[in-house]
Each structure stands twice: as structure tokens, then as C-alpha cells.
């Protein structure tokens, strides 16, 4: 088995010294190119977990390693996409998308690549538009282009589509999976949306709340790369995930989905 891209050992976090831990003894590994969803109810600490993985916060116990090296802070090699697009409102779509290359001092060489990424997320026509004129979905597309333009190895998503309308959300879920698979980017997704997890991930980590810890590690063996929410196989994995979350009493048995 190849060395994991990301590995987490005994990770724990408290906001104050004597407070109840938000996360306790979290451990898992992610291989390069994998798409992993961390699923749990609101307040189970999954967003905190993502911040720790990205180095945007420091854990109070345990460690995160990427390529075998401990994560000590944020880096353009792993980029987080947040629930809100958080674009800079005085900039155009292109200027926002080009921030990663600009900070890395290679804007001149990357201008064409940024343009291509804007086209990939279907925002080429709005490249020169001030982002305040864009809709919520368009802004999140620009934020996606901005994340990809930094050329990360890992794209970390923190409920990135939950503020969007259902139609835009579904389109972006499918597109982000396709794009990251094509570019070979490892996807780490935090969500409370079970549909989002089964549509986007190869594997789901189910989290308990208070303290947050991993309750189950579910691989979606039966799912094809291109999938729709109505596929029987997707519905089957959705049922398994629901059961793991404790939402139903009876977990579906292998073979169940053939009968649907």
C-alpha cells in the first residue's frame, strides 16, 4: 500500500484549556487522488477538523501530516474553499481567481491558466466583471477557480455549496468531483448533506458529536465515477450512510439495491 498523502493521528481540540473537547482522538488516512467526505450533524466539530487539517488552526492534541511532514500552517499546496465565496469585492472575477499565482509571484506565467480555469468553471464571460455584480452561484464558481488556480494537491471544502439554491448546488457538486478527478486533486469535503457526500466522495467518514470523533469509515465501492442522485447504487450507499449516521434502524444489506 502506498504511503498516504494525508494522515491524522490522535487529533484533539479544545477551544479553552478546561473546556469540553470539540474533537477527540480523531485518526484517519487519505490516499492521493481520493475523494473523502467527512459527514456529521451541525456542531460535531467537522468544520474545526477541516481548519486543523488546513493549518488554519493548531490542534491541542495529536498531529496532521501531509506527505509525512507535520502541518504547521496554511499553504497553497492545500487550499480551503469556504461556505461563503469570500471574494475581495474591489476586484474582478479574474483578479480574484488569480490571487494564488499572484501571491506565489508567478502571475505573469499563469494568466492564461487562470483564464482557462475560469472557462472550466463556466465563468470566462465574467472574467472582467467586478464580483459584486455576480450572483451567489457565480461567486462560488469564481472561488472554485481561485482555489484551483493555486494549484493545490488537496482541495478542502467546508460546506461550500450550502448557501446556494438546490439547482446550482447540484450542478457544482457534480462539476467539482469531475474537475478534481481530472486534475488529480485530492478532495476532502466536510458536509452535513448526505446527498452531497454520496455524489462527490469515494469514501465517507461519519462523525459523532460532543466530543467529535470518527464513528465509521465507509467506502463507496459500488459507485461509478459519474453518478446521479437517482442511480439505485447511489441510493443504496445513501442508505448505508444514513444507517451509519443513526438515522435509520435497519442498515440495507448488500444486494438490496438490485431489488429497488
Amino acid at each position: 500500500m502506498p504511503a498516504p498523502l494525508l494522515s491524522v493521528h490522535g487529533l484533539g481540540h479544545r477551544y479553552r484549556h478546561h473546556a469540553e473537547p470539540v474533537l477527540q482522538d480523531v485518526g484517519f488516512q487519505v490516499a492521493a487522488g481520493e475523494a473523502v467526505a467527512v459527514v456529521g450533524r451541525s456542531g460535531c466539530g467537522k468544520s474545526t477538523l477541516l481548519h486543523l487539517l488546513a493549518g488554519l488552526a493548531r490542534p491541542t492534541a495529536g498531529a496532521v501530516h501531509i506527505h509525512g511532514e507535520p502541518v504547521r500552517g496554511p499553504s497553497a499546496r492545500w487550499v480551503v474553499m469556504f461556505q461563503q465565496p469570500l471574494l475581495y469585492p474591489w476586484m474582478t472575477a479574474f483578479e480574484n481567481a488569480a490571487l494564488g499565482p499572484r501571491f506565489a509571484g508567478r502571475l505573469r506565467d499563469s494568466a492564461a491558466a487562470v483564464g482557462e480555469l475560469l472557462a472550466l468553471v463556466k465563468m470566462a464571460d465574467c472574467a472582467g466583471t467586478n464580483v459584486q455584480r455576480l450572483s451567489g452561484g457565480q461567486r462560488q464558481r469564481v472561488a472554485l477557480a481561485r482555489s484551483l488556480a493555486a494549484q493545490p494537491e488537496i482541495l478542502m471544502l467546508d460546506e461550500p455549496f450550502s448557501a446556494l439554491d438546490a439547482f446550482t448546488r447540484r450542478a457544482l457538486q457534480v462539476e467539482v468531483r469531475a474537475i478534481t478527478k481530472r486534475l488529480g486533486i485530492t478532495l476532502l469535503l466536510v458536509t452535513h448533506d448526505i446527498d452531497e457526500a454520496v455524489l462527490m466522495a469515494d469514501r465517507a467518514l461519519v462523525m459523532d458529536a460532543r466530543p467529535g470523533r470518527i464513528r465509521a469509515d465507509l467506502a463507496f465501492h459500488h459507485l461509478p465515477d459519474e453518478r446521479g442522485i437517482d442511480d439505485p447504487a447511489v441510493q443504496f450507499e445513501r442508505g448505508r450512510l444514513l444507517a451509519a449516521l443513526g438515522e435509520t434502524t435497519e442498515p440495507p444489506q448488500p444486494g438490496d439495491f438490485h431489488q429497488i
Binding site: Q84, L86, R146
Partner: protein, 252 residues
């Protein structure tokens, strides 16, 4: 049409009151010496001042002093404001001294300024800067404190260093607040200018007013008041234009 009507009406009312007051002053034998304050003599004298270039000889040095004082105020106020707005410790440490200094009229420093500076010009520039630095500092600090913390998170997340964050995120984000502070400061500076120029200098609008009083040329005095108001209005308009140009939250 209505956009022009009301401003014109407002100015017409002021002009009418001015004319009426001038007429009453001229009609009263006790005050007839001051008839120069009326609109007619004032505007005739203003045209004369413009034609003979005296206006520019007075306004030029005044504008230069305000420009220098404002430059000092911005050069000190913006970095100071970034420190105050960016650090809780600096804010806590400077709150009382700054509020104290802010409430001291710049003209109260006049004797100290005269003692401290070799030239009258230096003292005037100091007084203007002392008046203008506070609005710039507080507006900058206020702008910095308002920045969405998530904007810093995004920059860190994309690999920005502290200098890049300052240049790419902080300065554009606070541009509007800084310019608003400069606009306020310029208003204060322009007001402080005239009494400051009552000091030893022999040029500038403040000197011209004092001089006109001493020579009993009340039409020239009123013309200078008109110039001070008009130039101040124009400077404020320039600031407003800059705010519109560089303030990004107008796009909404």
C-alpha cells in the same frame, strides 16, 4: 431639472440675505464705513483681485501650507491608524493619550509651535498637521477594525505573506475609510489655516484678511472670505471625487 433648482435656490437665498444686510449697513450712517461688505463692492473687488493676480499670490502659499501639513498628517496618520486598528494592545495603550491630544485645539499649540520652529511657515505647517492627523488616524484605524477577518483567512490560505496581505488586501479594503478621513482632515486643516496665518507670515489668505482689516479695505476682506469658502468647497469636491473613484463599495 429639480437637481439644479434647489441648489440655485439655496444660493439665491444666501445672496439675497447678504445683499439685504449690505443695504442696511450702507443705509445706516453709523455703519456706512463698512459698506464694502456688500455683494456689489465685494464681487467688483474680487474681479479686480483675480485680474491683478493678487488672488493667486495669496491663495498659492496657503494651498502649499495646507498641502504640506496634510502630507505630514497622512504620512503619520495612516501607519499610526494601521497600528491602532490592527493591534488591540496598541489601541488600548493609545486610546487615552490620543483622545486627549485630539481634544486640544491645534491653535492651543501656537505658542509652542512658534518657539519650536525656526520659521513661521514651519509653525503653520505643524499646526495644520496637528489638526489633520487625528481624523486620518481614527478613520484608518476604524477601517482596519472593520475588515472581515475571513479576508485574512483567505489570503493566508492562498499563501500570502504579511507584506502581500497588507498590499493586496488591507490597503484596498481601507482605501475608502482613509480617503474619508483625509476629507474630514482637509476640512479641519482649511479651518485652522486662516487663524494660523495670522501668525508672523506675510503671505496667504489668513494674512490677506488681517491685512485688509488693518487697511480698512472691507471689500477686499469680504472677497478673501469668498475665496476661502470657494477653495475649501473645491478641495472637498476633489476628496469626494477620490472617494467615488477608489471606494469599492459603491459598485453594489
Amino acid at each position: 431639472m429639480a437637481g439644479v433648482l434647489w441648489p440655485v435656490l439655496g444660493c439665491a437665498v444666501v445672496l439675497a440675505v447678504w445683499w439685504l444686510a449690505g443695504w442696511r449697513i450702507a443705509a445706516n450712517p453709523d455703519t456706512a464705513n463698512f459698506a464694502g461688505f456688500a455683494p456689489g463692492p465685494t464681487l467688483r473687488r474680487l474681479a479686480d483681485l483675480v485680474a491683478r493676480g493678487e488672488l493667486w499670490r495669496s491663495a498659492g502659499p496657503s494651498l502649499a501650507r495646507v498641502g504640506q501639513g496634510m502630507a505630514v498628517a497622512v504620512a503619520l496618520g495612516v501607519p499610526l491608524g494601521v497600528l491602532v486598528g490592527g493591534s488591540k494592545a496598541v489601541r488600548a495603550a493609545t486610546h487615552i493619550p490620543f483622545q486627549f491630544l485630539r481634544m486640544v485645539s491645534p491653535l492651543a499649540w501656537m505658542p509652542i509651535a512658534v518657539l519650536s520652529f525656526a520659521s513661521w511657515d514651519g509653525a503653520i505647517v505643524f499646526l495644520i498637521a496637528a489638526a489633520a492627523v487625528w481624523p486620518v488616524t481614527f478613520a484608518t484605524a476604524n477601517g482596519l477594525a472593520k475588515i472581515d477577518p475571513d479576508w485574512f483567512k483567505v489570503a493566508r490560505n492562498l499563501g500570502a505573506g504579511p507584506v502581500q496581505t497588507l498590499r493586496v488586501v488591507v490597503l484596498p479594503a481601507i482605501a475608502r475609510d482613509v480617503l474619508t478621513g483625509i476629507r474630514l482632515a482637509l476640512g479641519v486643516a482649511w479651518i485652522v489655516l486662516v487663524p494660523a496665518e495670522y501668525l508672523g507670515v506675510t503671505s496667504g489668505l489668513g494674512y490677506a484678511i488681517n491685512d485688509a482689516r488693518d487697511t480698512l479695505e472691507y471689500d477686499r476682506l469680504a472677497a478673501m472670505v469668498l475665496v476661502i469658502g470657494t477653495l475649501g468647497f473645491a478641495l472637498d469636491g476633489l476628496c469626494l471625487g477620490a472617494i467615488r473613484r477608489f471606494g469599492w463599495d459603491h459598485e453594489r
